[in-house]
Amino acid sequence: MGYQLTKNKAEQVFRELAKKCDVFAPKLMEGEGCFSDTDIIRYGKVHSLDEIVWDKKSDYSFKEALLAINETLFYFTEDQTTVPKGPEKDILIFLRACDLHAVRRLDEIYLKNGFEDFYYARMREKAKFILMGCSQTCESGFCVSMGTNRAENYDAYLKVDGDTVLLDVKCECLESMLKADADAGNAACREHGEGGQADCAGQITVCDVTPDYVTENKEKVTLPKQLSNESFGKEIWKEYGDRCIGCGRCNFVCPTCTCFTMQDIFYKDNPKAGERRRVWASCQVDGYTDMAGGISFRKTQGDRMRFKVMHKIYDYEKRFGYPMCVGCGRCDDVCPEYISYSNCINRLAKEESES
């Protein structure tokens, strides 16, 4: 159900929510960018709507709210293992349509593909998603081409418009909170003879709310349709391989990349105790395929670029029935070598149409 609230009322509701849940949203982290004196927009806990960055795309995606960059799977003390506690509170995550589509990709790998992942599942159970609309396109995104510009499966939609906040709520627990307030407000409004107006005493009214979404991006992408093992020999991979420095940033900003590597550590003060962790991994970085004994695969950056690109737009779809990439454009924004993944895809499609 849709609601219109005053900003003050919305902040009040938000503070109530923040007591019951951990709210993750894109925040401006001043001075924490990659280079000196640069800022970064990343996910972190927020306590007020004003802390959320609404007008720009986050540099990193929401995924670190569900999958920690570095997650302890268990502690060990000689023969014993202990699993760390899961989240106690519900988790509210503010994200955009492209990222909400990425949740389906994370679920596909972590909840389905083979075994269910214990750690992801217990986070996911607690997670609710609040859609942030896009009233205009970002610079590098191509969500329209990927069909991820609209999302319906949100728990709530929230838009701040000056002193007004628009909400569309689908999740029952959020609904029950708001509805009680709205009913009280509407009753008060009727007494004043101005039923349904946001500026009346109740501060919260029921109305129709449709999420903002973009229908056109600056970047447009056409997916190649005839990729196969034959595509391995293309010159384009070598060309990108010569430019790529294998830093792996594209994987870390990607909302759909899910790879990790196991890491055991032990404590300096007590070498008998330690922990097993998983940390984010990148298929572009050396060591990703290394086996004990010295065998490794995809040794050149060109092969790794091909592996990544084909996974995003071909291999994943072959296995699960829909493309993996959601067109957020973050990999293009973050590449220190200005490699444009979207341009790479368009070139592959163009090569196909010309052949």
Binding site: L73, F74, F76, D79, T81, V83, I109, Y110, N113, G114, F115, E116, D117, F118, Y119, A121, R122, N229, F232, T258, C259, F260, T261, M262, Q263, D264, I265, F266, P271, G274, R276, R278, A281, C283, Y288, T289, D290, M291, A292, G293, G294, I295, F297, R298, D303, F307, M310, H311, D315, Y316, K318, R319
Partner: protein, 263 residues
């Protein structure tokens, strides 16, 4: 919900030393296991490594481990009277049914014999279930030969060529790569053959080329892949080739599918 990442502590029942670098650890394990499946074997603080099952007994599984990395070094240093953590079994493994009633040839290179050893054991014990069973096993040199006791048993029941890549002067056994012995194989009916080929990627490549030269249909060949695997659960991504997860869909593949797996 089961937390698949938590390993179980397993006691070492026996250690069989093949060479300085390769031991078989017989570990306690209750549960169903197929040859060709693998476990994640770990020593806390050093990490986990995917290790194939090289033997299946009553309440035990064997892991033939080569000392080549951080985890396996630690296993060799600290095993005495001790325990490891294991979790599994994972992967599809070999399906014995595929090889019954066939002229079976198993070709293995080095520790590649481990994952397929259960199949060789089965047909050495049940010779009547295959038309014939041949094993071609290659090792680097005579001192690298694994499973010496098993070879003695196999030689009594099935046809065995145990070759070494290089040998000192005066060595009397077969010398040369496994591929050298493939052209001489004779069959009653080439259509009714089954080949299993396990070893390092380069060995698989050249061995399959030789097998195909005999006129063997591709669907009569099975291979087993090794890849880096951090989870064994279809999550970590390291073993993925194309749209295939080696840990879930493999490691054993019929060559018709396996030939499409290009890194």
């Amino acid at each position: 919900m089961k937390n698949e990442y938590i390993p179980q502590l397993s006691t070492i029942r026996e250690v069989i030393k093949h060479t300085d670098l390769e031991y078989t650890f017989r570990m306690e394990f209750e549960g169903e296991v197929k040859p060709g499946q693998f476990f994640e074997v770990s020593i806390p603080k050093y990490g986990e490594a995917p290790i194939s099952v090289s033997g299946i007994g009553e309440g035990t599984v064997d892991f033939t481990i080569r000392r080549v990395g951080k985890v396996t070094n630690e296993i060799f240093e600290n095993y005495v009277g001790d325990k490891f953590f294991i979790r599994g079994p994972y992967g599809n493994g070999f399906d014995i049914e595929n090889y019954k009633g066939k002229e079976l040839v198993v070709i293995a290179g080095g520790t590649g014999l481990s994952p397929v050893k259960g199949v060789v054991d089965y047909f050495a014990q049940h010779t009547e279930e295959a038309v014939s069973t041949k094993l071609i096993a290659g090792f680097k040199s005579p001192k690298d030969v694994l499973f010496r006791e098993d070879f003695a048993f196999w030689k009594e029941h099935i046809s065995v060529i145990q070759t070494v890549d290089t040998a000192p002067e005066g060595y009397e056994g077969p010398v040369g790569m496994v591929t050298k012995y493939i052209p001489d194989l004779k069959f009653e009916n080439i259509q009714n053959t089954a080949f299993i080929c396990v070893g390092p990627p380069i060995m698989i490549k050249f061995t399959v080329m030789e097998i195909l030269k005999l006129g063997v249909p591709e669907e009569n060949i099975w291979i087993s892949h090794e890849r880096k695997m951090c989870c064994g659960l279809g999550k970590c991504g390291h073993c993925k080739i194309g749209s295939t997860y080696i840990c879930l869909d493999g490691p054993v593949f019929n060559y018709v599918d396996g030939k499409e797996l290009l890194d």
